[in-house]
Symmetry: C2
Subunit: 447 residues, 2 copies
């Protein structure tokens, strides 16, 4: 949990540290750590340090900055200076930046880039956010199928400086269709004159441009890949996704799921950097929506005013009962949301899961009823205890079934199942719980 050891011993200096310390840090630290340092400074100072770096490292460091920060710097830099950095960035980072710029700045940047990079940016910028297309890069090596291992290695030698990913090369035909993948590992092992068509994997794992980035990441994890080829509808190779970009995408998705589970609207920035206004915005919407959900519980209670006045001790157990229902519901919802995110559970599993949940929830309800019964007897007498016990069984089951089903319902409605958060489930379960509780009371206590 502590980041201390993430920084490989080199601790990031304070903004007001003396220049020798800062210079030492900037020379010895890794680009990502330099980026973290620059982000801790105000724009002007950060820019000065960035421009002191040689252009290669400058582009690396720049790529590690938050997109928000990159845009601020882009606006502060001359268009030549920006183009110089952009031309050295990896294609996927370059297009991410491009997509954040104003149309006029985009136009300027395109003009400043050389033809090849200009085409590349145009090509990559069209893909929808959070798809394989948006995640993929163009730094990979393609080989013709008729090469020998020796020829392939020579071509790699030639292209390697430009290309970041040379450990898996892609064999394509004249129409750019993907024929196979050959690992540098095998090229090194093969005798010089082995045709690569003999050693390539002819059935490589691949994904399509419009697959969700979550699925791309899950696939890379499932098949333990370093890079995955992305193809279009005609099996033409259009790019690759590397494991590290997939991991970043996955972490982003997971954080979103976490936030949704806590009814916070997804936050792209770090909590530390997010402004108070932003955090307020991300939280107020759901809190307000849930208020209206809770008004139903209130209405339910109002309806049972008589019962409450006759047996006020019923109220003492209200938080206990509605919370228990909500808690059981949160548990089921959590299990489903996470299992759906990892691809562990899919729509078709609902039937099987709901029947199991009925049994589990019944067992949980009975256990909890037994636990509260004595308390009920103490505080309200035997009759009240009966009401509470019965209600407990019932509301725990209702809560659990709501919690289990809501994620399925949401994804059936093409919504994110992660929205089935504890608080949402709790609010629904509460409203039901109140009605159940006082209905049982009213009938059992013959009012």
């Amino acid at each position: 949990m502590s980041t201390s050891n993430l920084y490989q011993g080199v601790s990031i200096p304070e903004a007001q540290a003396d220049s020798t310390e800062i210079n030492y840090f900037i020379e010895s630290a890794y680009p990502v750590d330099i980026a973290a340092f620059i982000e801790s400074l105000d724009l002007g100072l950060g820019l000065t340090h960035l421009l002191k770096l040689d252009v290669e490292k400058r582009a690396q460091v720049f790529s590690y900055l938050d997109l928000e920060t990159q845009v601020q710097f882009a606006n502060a830099l001359s268009h030549e200076a920006l183009a110089e950095i952009a031309s050295k960035m990896a294609s996927d980072n370059r297009v991410d930046l491009y997509n954040q710029l104003e149309p006029s700045e985009q136009q300027q940047l395109l003009e400043d880039l050389d033809r090849e990079q200009r085409e590349d940016v145009k090509r990559l910028s069209v893909y929808a956010e959070k798809t394989a297309g948006a995640l993929m890069s163009s730094e990979y090596v393609t080989l013709a199928g008729n090469l020998t291992a020796k020829q392939a290695i020579d071509q790699l030698r030639h292209e390697a400086p430009k290309k970041t990913a040379i450990y898996r090369s892609y064999i394509i035909d004249a129409e750019l269709r993907l024929l196979g993948v050959v690992r540098l590992h095998e090229l090194i092992l093969a005798s010089d004159d082995t045709p690569i068509s003999k050693i390539m994997d002819q059935n490589p794992v691949k994904m399509s441009i419009d697959d969700a980035q979550e699925d791309v990441a899950n696939t890379i994890n499932r098949y333990d890949l370093t890079t995955i080829p992305i193809v279009d509808a005609n099996n033409r190779l259009v790019g690759i996704v590397t494991h590290d970009d997939a991991a970043d995408a996955m972490q982003q998705e997971t954080t979103e799921d976490f936030h949704k589970a806590g009814t916070v609207e997804p936050l792209t920035q770090s909590v530390m950097k997010a402004s108070m206004g932003l955090l307020y915005k991300k939280r107020v919407v759901w809190l307000s929506l849930l208020i209206f959900g809770n008004l139903f519980s209130g209405a339910g209670l109002a309806f049972f005013e008589e019962t409450i006045l006759a047996y006020v001790s019923l109220v003492f157990f209200l938080p206990l009962l509605i919370d228990s229902s909500g808690n059981a519901g949160s548990q089921s919802a959590t299990l489903m949301v996470r299992a759906m995110a990892t691809g562990d559970v899919t729509m078709k599993d609902w039937k099987k899961l709901i029947s199991r949940e009925l049994v589990i929830a019944l067992a949980l309800g009975l256990t909890m009823a037994l636990l509260v019964f004595p308390v009920g007897v103490m505080r309200g007498g035997y009759e009240i205890a009966m009401v509470i016990g019965l209600t407990m069984v019932f509301v725990v089951m209702v809560g659990s079934l709501v919690g289990l089903s809501l994620p399925f319902l949401l994804s059936k409605l093409k919504l994110d199942p992660a929205t089935a958060s504890g608080p949402l489930v709790t609010t629904i379960a509460d409203a039901v719980g109140v009605v159940v509780y006082f209905s049982i009371a009213t009938s059992l206590l013959d009012l």
Copy 2:
């Protein structure tokens, strides 16, 4: 979210599918998918299919089975058959299996393995779970510092078949101390007689044996690595962790955090495979603990019986107020827990965050007070509305501060901050909320 495209078009056959379909699948599918198929069968049938595979593929498929399933198979197999598989497994998977076996079986397996593998298992089996040591493998290439690029590549050619990770080789001295890392990329580019000491990275990112697996995974992500060297206290190279194993570890950690956030005790198996009994166990403990938390709310209410009887309409707003407090708390807790897991926030940030939270929570509380005020007037008159509004501001702030602080408190107590779940925060916030609500009521409604 749907797994369909994880299986690369080859859909996993039903257990009762005809043998031609199954055979076709087993020949064409990837090991991980074959493993998924075998797990869907009962033990005996699964074993038959496993043993039909040639030994190399058998070991690969076996490694992808759940550890629980691996152990069942291990018990069903003859010790020779098990040893044959184990000897072909990657060192990290082999030791994971070894650690799950009964002492007698462990002894037998050690005897059946060749000396080198026996020593390797003994060496790797001592590291504590969830540490870098437990995650690392021994399949990597070490080079002497005095080699040339050509000599290094020849050595790789020689060792590559045994070693899984050859893309980064580790340069060590006579005492096995890590001097640097050289990427195959650079070896390919270098002229034959370049000394590798010239092209190696002399300051590679590394971790220590006892670092937490979470930190190893975060470091691999931060520095975009494919493998990371693990060293002991004397900087001796003892193993490497690969990005794919780190990703699996990370996913496991994340799932645990999710489950804790929903007060479910961490579940190592898939929800689909977990027995109902197990799921009951994982859920009942927290649900029962929270009951006792809720009894405080009940006691609070009992204490204010007079007030309730005098102004029963106060009860109508009880769920609304305590839920709002709990919801605001869940939000803060979620933001903190996730930020701590990603290393975004550390202990030292508490001060800064708590002061910001005060402002944000006040703003949220005021907003919600304004929303409920009119409802209060409608249902209970102006005075009641005042009470409700005031209470809302107060409880939202209390809930938020509890939610924000609890994760810090827990990790200060060396507990997992993820235990600061919505339900736990809600229960605490409820108890406080009830007391605040009726205290304000009692004083304002001059009772």
